[in-house]
C-alpha cells in the first residue's frame, strides 16, 4: 500500500489547484463582465477596473503555489514517489485549507470586486477605498494559504 500515500498526496495537490482555480476563474470572469460594462461607459476607467477585476484572481495562484510545493515535495516533478499512507493523507489534509477557503473566498471576493467596480464607476475618486473592500476578503485566503504552507513544510520532517 506504499504507493497509495502518493496518490493521496497528489489528490491534495490537485484539489488545491482545482478548487482555488475554479473559484478564481469564476470570480474574475464575473468581475470582468462588470468591468467591461464600466469601460463601455467610460474608457478612462480601464486601468482601475482592471485592477479590481484581478483581485479575486490570487486564490487560483495560491492554489497553484500549494499544488506546486506539494508536487515538488512528493516527487511528481522528479525524484522518488514513495511514501507512507499516513504521510500522503497528511499532505492531503494540508492542501485542504487553500482548496476550500480558496474556492469560497474567491466567490466572495468576486462579489466584493463587482461592488467595488460599481463604486468606481460612480465615483472614480474612491478607487483607494474600493480596492480595500475586496482585499479584506483576501485576508482569509492568505490565512488558509499560510496554514497550508506551514503544514506542508512541516510534513517531510515527520516520522510517520
Amino acid at each position: 500500500m506504499a504507493n497509495l500515500g502518493f496518490v493521496y498526496a497528489l489528490v491534495g495537490a490537485v484539489a488545491a489547484a482545482l478548487f482555488a482555480g475554479i473559484g478564481s476563474a469564476i470570480a474574475v470572469g464575473r468581475a470582468g463582465q462588470a468591468a467591461a460594462g464600466v469601460v463601455a461607459e467610460d474608457a478612462s476607467q480601464f486601468s482601475k477596473v482592471l485592477i479590481l477585476q484581478l483581485l479575486p484572481g490570487t486564490q487560483g495562484i495560491y492554489g497553484l503555489l500549494i499544488a506546486f510545493i506539494t508536487m515538488s515535495q512528493i516527487g511528481v516533478l522528479g525524484g522518488s514517489a514513495d511514501m507512507s499512507t499516513a504521510k500522503g493523507l497528511a499532505y492531503l489534509a494540508a492542501c485542504l485549507p487553500i482548496a476550500f477557503v480558496g474556492l469560497i473566498s474567491a466567490f466572495a471576493q468576486g462579489n466584493a470586486s463587482i461592488a467595488a467596480i460599481g463604486l468606481v464607476a460612480k465615483d472614480p475618486g474612491q478607487f483607494g477605498k474600493a480596492m480595500i473592500f475586496p482585499a479584506m476578503v483576501e485576508t482569509y485566503a492568505i490565512l488558509a494559504l499560510l496554514v497550508s504552507i506551514l503544514a506542508i513544510f512541516a510534513i517531510p520532517g515527520l516520522t510517520i
Binding site: I61, L64, I132, M136, L146, L150
Partner: protein, 670 residues
Amino acid sequence: MAVVPMKRVTIAALRKDRKKIMEFLQRRGVMELHNNIPEDEVFRKYDMSDGRQTFLRNRGRAEQALAVLDAYAPEKKGLLASFEGRKPITVEEYEKGIRERASTQELCTRILDLDKEYAELSAKIPREELEMSALEPWMSFDLPLNFSGTRHTSAFTGTLPGQQTQESIALQFEELEPDLPKDITILSSSPEQTCIFAVCEKQDSARMKEALRRMNFAAAPLSAEVPAQARKNLEKSIEDAKARREKVREKICELASGREKIKFLIDYLAMRAEKYDTISSLSQSSRVFFVEGYVPADSCAQLEQDLVSSYDVVFEAEDPAADEEVPVLLKNNGYAAPLESVIESYALPGRGEFDPSFVTSLFYYALFGLMLSDAAYGILMAAACAFVLIKFKNMEEGTRKTMKLFLYCGIATIICGFLFGSFFGDAVHVIGSTFFGKPEAGLKAIWFEPINDPIRMLAFCFLVGLIHLFTGLGCKLYMNIKNGQILDGIYDVVFWYMLVGGAVVYLLSMKMITDMFRLSFIFPPAVGKAAAVIAVIGAVGIVFTGGRESRNWGKRIAKGLYAVYGVTSYLSDLLSYSRLLALGLATSVISSLFNKMGSMFGGGLFGAIMFVIVFLIGHALNIAINALGAYVHTNRLQYVEFFGKFYEGGGRKFRPYKATTKYFKFKEDI
C-alpha cells in the same frame, strides 16, 4: 511633512480690473474661492452664464474639428505618450494663440465643412453604384429607356416578373389580346425578371398598356439616355466623386498642421468658460467686486505683493477661525511626497489631525519590498520608473508621484530580494545547473531564505507588524498630546502599550511559544512575571477608562470590559501581517516554478531557447500579478491595520481656482 497652513484672504478691487485680476488669479492657481458675502442691494452676483455658454459652444466645435483631424490624419503617438504630460507654453505662444483666435475658429469651421462635404460625397457613391447595377439588365437596349415610340407606334420598355420567353409571352397575349399586332423583344431575362421592349401601333396603345398591366408589367427606370451611355456617365460621376472625396481628404490632412492651434483654442476657451463661471459667483457692486477664499500661507505674501503692485486692490489675509472647515493641501519632502496620493485615496487629514505621509513612508516601501521580495523584479521596476522619470520631464505632477512611489517600492524590493536571496526566484541556481553544469551555483541570501525557514520569516513578519501597530498607536499619542488631551493619550495609548507589549513579552518568556517560533532567545521568568503584571495593570486601566464617556459606573465598567476585549483585534491585526510571508513566498515559489518548467527541456541550444521563452512569459506574468498583490496589500496594511489605530481623516481637498486645461500648461509668468 505637513498640512500646509492656509490663510483666509479677501480681495476687494475695482470692477474695471476684474478681467485682469481674475485672469491673474487663474494663472497663479493658488487660491480656492469661497464667496460667503450675502447678496444685498449694493452687492449682488451677476449671471454670466450666457457668455460661458458661448465659450462652451465654440469649444465644442473646436473639439469636433480636432476629432475630425484625428480621424483623417491621426497623430503619431509613442507607446509611452501617456507619460508625456501637457506641453508648457511660452508667453509669446500664448499671446500669438490669442491673436490668432479668430482665424483658428475659421479653421475649425472649414474643417467641419470639409468633413460634411466628405460625408456627402461618401453617401453619393453607393447611391450611384446602386443606380448603375439597376441599369445592368438594359445594357443590350440601344434606345433611351424613356423612348415612347415614333409617330405611328407606341413603345413600352419595362419588366415582367419571372423568367419569360417569347413563347410564354405570346401565350399570355393569346389570352388577353389575341389579335393585337405587336412586336416583343426580350432584352434580358433572369429568374427574377424579364426585361422586354414592346412596340404596337399608336391606336392600340391603350389596349397594349392594359394587357401589359394585367401581366404585371413595370416600366423601366426613366432615363433620357441610352443605357450604355447612362452607365458610362454614372461611372464617370462615381470616379469623379471618388477623386473629389480624395481631394477633400487631402485638404483636411493639409489643415492638420493647425492641430496645435485648435488645441490651444480648446484650452483657451475652457479657461475663459471657467473664468466666467467663477465671476458669476463673485459679489459685485457697480464699481467694486470682492474675491474671498483660501490661499496657502507660503504663497500669500507673494500674491499680495503682485496684486497690490499692479492693481488698486485691498488685500486682507487672516488666519481661519478654529471651527472653519479649511481645505487641506499636503506638502512633503521627496521621500514622503509620493505617498500623498495614497493618503488622499484614504482620506485627507481632518481637523486636529496631522499629515501621516511621512510616518507612512517609513513603512510603505518596506512592506511592499517584503511582499514582492525579488531583487530582479525590483531592478526591473525601479529601472522602468527611473527611465520614465528621466525621459519625460514634462510629466504631470500626479503621474510623477506615482512613478516615484513605484521607484522607491522597487528599490525596497531590490534590498529585500538580496536579503532573502531571490533573483528571478532561484534562476541563478537553475541556469547554473542546467546549462553550465554547476549545481552549486546560486545566489546566497544575505540573511536567510524564507522558503527554507518559513517559521523564522513568520516571526519576523509579526515583529514588523508589532512595530507598525505600535508606531500607529504612537501617532495617536502624539496627536493627543498635540491637542492637549494628555489624559486621553494615557488612557487610549499608554494602557494599550502596557497590555499588548506586556502580553507579548510574557508570551516570549514561555518555552512553548519560543519553541514554536524557533527563537534563539527566551525571556527569563522574572521578566515574564513583570511583563504580566504590567499587562494586567494596563488591562485594569482600560477597564476603568475604556468607557469613560459614560457617567454611570456600572455602564462604564461594562464598556471598559468590552474595550479590553478589543485585545483580540490586536491579535487579528498581528496575524494579518502573515501576508508578508505568504505573498513573499508566493513570488519566489511561482518564479521557481517557471524556472523549473523552463529547465525541463534540458541543456543545449533547444533547451536554452525554450528556457528563454518560458522564462520571459512566466516572469512577466509573475511580476505583474505579484506587484499588483503587493501594492494592494501594502495599502491594506496601511489603511486597515495602521490608520485604524490613529487616523480618521475627513479633510476637504484644496481645489484652487486655476486653468484646467487639457493640452497645454499655462505657466504663471504669462
